[in-house]
Amino acid sequence: MTTIGILANPAAARDVRRLIARASSISIAERCAIVQRALTGLGAVGIDRVLMMFDRGGIVSGLERAIEHHRRDVPLRWPELEILEMPVTGEARDTLKAVQLMRRKDAKVIMVLGGDGTHRLVAHECGTIPLVCISTGTNNVFPEFQESTVAGIAAGAVAKGLVDRNEVCRQNKRLGIRVNGQPQIGALIDICITSDNWIGSRAVWRTENLRELYLTFAEPDAIGLSSIGGLLKPVGREAEEGLVIELGPCDTSRQKLEVPIAPGLIEPVGINGVRRLMMEEPGRIRSRSGTVALDGEREIEFAKNDTVEIVLERDGPLTVDVSKVMKKLATKGRLS
């Protein structure tokens, strides 16, 4: 029996970015449809079982309704859907717990539907299980837009061993973080220190409040915080280094740069310095109080007595390159 996990975040893409910028939003109904398309792809390559967590957002309830309808109307080749037995709180810890259970239940691949934040949580618990990443919004850097039927085929092919996972997976970097010596859930793309006092609505968009930015990679065509690095000094996803940028208010900084900080929002940022971040190089942030934003979301408030340390690490999650998988399958001339 081959098992796949699907982690679909019901909360992503409906935060304050809809208000301050022109970020897209994907309804629960559409998320549910994305999962259904993925199930079709997974079924086509012979995956037997899919694990999901129950969510209060309504994705799983919608799915169960769809399965019920389909059972009556059309014969389906969908895998069996198993809902993980766990308490659901509607909070981030649900994702962590669900991924732990998927690991325990021998999921060979985890498909993730969500934004950078969801991927960050999954990556924290997935170990060496490869991820197939599907972005459910326009404000993401880590996952790419991916049609989920095809992503399902690719996920299934890797899980079934139809392609060699070493040839189609990428080893990602990550940023580790400790607060007062205690390890926290790290970041996949960026850690930004801001002068905001409060986590509040979480998103980071007031560029005058940005102070320090740590990046695992930075691509010039990115949206969000990493675009700052991408436009200053691009670093590839697979490069052996990252980037550190010192930021400040525009009027007191050495350089001013306009960046797409959020979908539909181009703002100037003040730059005071850029340098490489070496692998495993230990570092402590300079700011004395503010918030730490992890992959674009304010998550930690810190004050003058707290120490915050950040380090670039090699052991981020493995991610499946869907296009590579499909090319391999093409050489075989069939899907399964």
Binding site: A11, R14, V16, R18, I20, S27, G62, W198, I199
Partner: protein, 323 residues
């Protein structure tokens, strides 16, 4: 976020006043001295406070049957409210409205409302007036998950969009409309926020127990509305501590549901924990507020009880407004 010490203390006092007011009405209602229905807002304070602290005198709000919190947050006088609930002459509406009809137009509070979904059309009117007169005012309707299903609400979302009104619709999704779960009754799996896209307006969902999240988001929505950006829908996911109305046996709720919510999602506890962490505000500062609030509530109950009811001769006064 422009939350200095003063503003934080103000936010705490506002939420604490709502909580104590509701806890006290809960106790007093059980004595049988209050007539009519009361629907308590305890547990949902961060929503009213987070939104209303972003408003000023130009702005109007419309409330629901669960309206005490909105009234207090918009500045309606607490003693008048308590007396109103007791049906006394010194009440906000001279004792003729009761809990579900407290209104104070001078404070921009257009009224609690016995009609579920009654608020949104009102704020379209207030929004249109503000826009036409160029006052810079914003109008906010609070509405429940049940209210979000009413035709009046959906029509208002449409109207606010096509007229690009400075309106904000705050859906306070507390999981139930009376006994009906919102998961079941609200389309899109209980997510009223997802309807916003259908009307072409931004929709934001947030944890309604988190004052800071509500305050910051509401601030952005208010700025946008003031600057001609148009309407916004904000869905606050939150919980009510008491029954739908006082006397509700709540057999539709899980055995420990409320207990768990009170433990993990008390907006006041979450707020206090946060603001005292770095020492800007001390436990003693909060205690001082607690004492003041307790005294205010105590005084308002004593005064309300002692006050006279409206006499029979006043039956037909204050019923219609003459324009």
């Amino acid at each position: 976020m422009d939350l200095n010490r003063q503003k934080l203390l103000e936010a705490y006092e506002m939420m604490k006043t709502i909580r104590e007011f509701e806890d006290r009405v809960h106790v007093e209602f059980a004595t049988g001295e209050i007539s009519g229905f009361v629907h308590l807002y305890a547990g949902e304070e961060a929503s009213a406070a987070g939104v209303c602290l972003q408003l000023d005198d130009r702005d109007k709000i419309a409330s629901t049957h669960r309206g005490h919190g909105h009234c207090i947050a918009k500045g309606v006088e607490v003693k008048g409210m308590m007396a109103e609930i007791y049906g006394k002459q010194i009440g906000t509406c001279r004792g003729k409205g009761g809990s579900m009809h407290i209104a104070d137009l001078d404070k921009g509070m257009m009224g609690a409302n016995g009609i579920v979904g009654g608020g949104p059309p009102l704020i379209c009117g207030a929004g249109l007036a503000a826009k036409t007169l160029g006052t810079g005012g914003v109008a906010v309707a609070f509405v429940g998950d049940g209210g979000s299903n009413q035709g009046t609400t959906l029509e208002s979302l449409n109207l606010a969009t096509i007229w690009n009104l400075p309106c904000i619709f705050v859906v306070e999704n507390n999981g139930y409309a009376e006994t009906t779960p919102s998961k079941w009754s609200v389309s899109l799996s209980g997510n009223a926020v997802d309807r916003a896209a259908g009307f072409g307006m931004p929709g934001v969902v947030l944890d309604g127990h988190d004052f800071f999240a509500v305050y910051e988001t509401a601030g952005e929505a208010v700025d946008r509305a003031r600057n001609g950006g148009g309407p916004t829908l904000i869905e606050c996911k939150l919980n009510r501590y008491y029954g739908h109305f006082e006397g509700d046996t709540q057999t539709y709720r899980g055995p420990d549901e409320v207990k768990k919510v009170r433990e993990a999602k008390d907006c006041l506890a979450l707020f206090s924990e946060k603001v005292t962490r770095d020492g800007t505000i001390s436990g003693a500062d909060l205690q001082e507020i607690d004492d003041r609030v307790m005294q205010l509530i105590e005084d308002s109950v004593v005064e309300a009880k002692a006050a006279p009811k409206p006499p029979a001769a006043d039956l037909l006064t204050d019923v219609y407004v003459s324009y």
